[in-house]
Symmetry: C2
Subunit: 209 residues, 2 copies
């Protein structure tokens, strides 16, 4: 089984690393980081580079594709190289997945038409013009399409998908290995839970862009 | 304020990326990934490279140092270049932090003697010979030393430290930005919560090594 993690300029690191940390532990899986051009790809704030070992045209039949998000999804949503690759590999994937605004890339490639999906809470509405039905859920399974909400949600998506692929017991072992027993010091991780004033301020001046 | 994230061969990606994703958002912070030699550093399973932009001797006075763990801490625990650097930068840090077995590197550098600390649950006992007092807590603050438990705990540590540095409201904004509202599909993230048989099996054959 091959797992391809797409990288592109200004992606958000945790979007990619969360699912990688769980799914790369599928027995006998080969995980490969892929980008339009091989080499280091810098994250949203520019301070970190992750290495894409393969170019898009070197990875043609992954079983799982993982598309991270970033604060400027508009750029890749207009990049034919990325959209063509997503359409091409999706034809044979077992699972096509995204985290955060990565779902907007899937949507722009025409892959979420008529499907329930999610995205970063600030970007949910942007799924609508592509025929997707946005939900407020943290992880959405619709057929082979799995979309997760903002940034950190890829951890939950990865574990959930791992359970479907390798079984509940195996997924629990990976959860224990990663000691994923979250204890955030605040309870402000969703627009429903965060202070209303903070949510309003973020909506008014999207800090991601 | 400068934040230095240490990389070394076979580190665990999420250990480094979790705290990076929150702490790099400290206003006016400069985050730098540092290793014995600059360039790509491969993760524990070898499938991902993160780029260290600076060599150890180029980063001499970081305000915060973050030490990730990995499945073979013994290697760096005997690496004088890393231990000397940790001791040298610790002399002037405001916060010296670790995730997972990264605490064993701090301990081996002599920095946790007499301090309460944590580590990956499979490695807690190894803190004792270095004079540290292991705890089962997920994030431990003892003076300027902050240690976190296994892999994913760096997210909680990062948010907690962010709150102390930039204030609760700012930390909540970053939590909301990262949509950190964890909903793991299983409740097996700690040895107290996971099935006893699974915990026993992992203790018998440490899957990290």
């Amino acid at each position: 089984m091959q797992i391809a993690v797409l990288l592109y300029d200004r992606f958000t690191a945790l979007d990619a690393v969360g699912p990688y940390e769980t799914l790369s532990r599928i027995p006998d899986a080969e995980t490969v980081f892929v980008a339009e051009r091989p080499g280091p790809v810098r994250t949203d704030n520019g301070v970190l580079g992750l290495v894409a070992d393969k170019a898009l045209d070197e990875v043609t039949r992954p079983d799982i594709v993982i598309v991270p998000g970033g604060p400027q999804p508009e750029v890749e949503m207009k990049n034919p190289a990325v959209l063509d690759w997503l359409r091409a590999v999706d034809a044979t994937t077992t699972w096509t997945t995204s985290v955060c605004t990565g779902s907007l890339l899937l949507a722009a490639a025409g892959l979420l038409d008529g499907r329930r999906a999610t995205s970063h809470w600030l970007y949910l509405d942007r799924l609508v013009p592509f025929g997707a039905e946005p939900t407020g859920e943290r992880v959405v399974f619709d057929g082979k399409y799995v979309t997760a909400a903002g940034v950190s949600s890829g951890l939950d998506m990865g574990l959930g998908l791992l359970g479907r692929i390798a079984g509940d017991e195996y997924a629990q072992a990976v959860q224990l290995l990663c000691e994923y027993d979250p204890q955030p010091p605040y309870d402000a991780g969703s627009p429903e839970k965060a202070p209303a004033e903070l949510v309003a301020r973020m909506r008014a001046a999207n800090p991601l862009s």
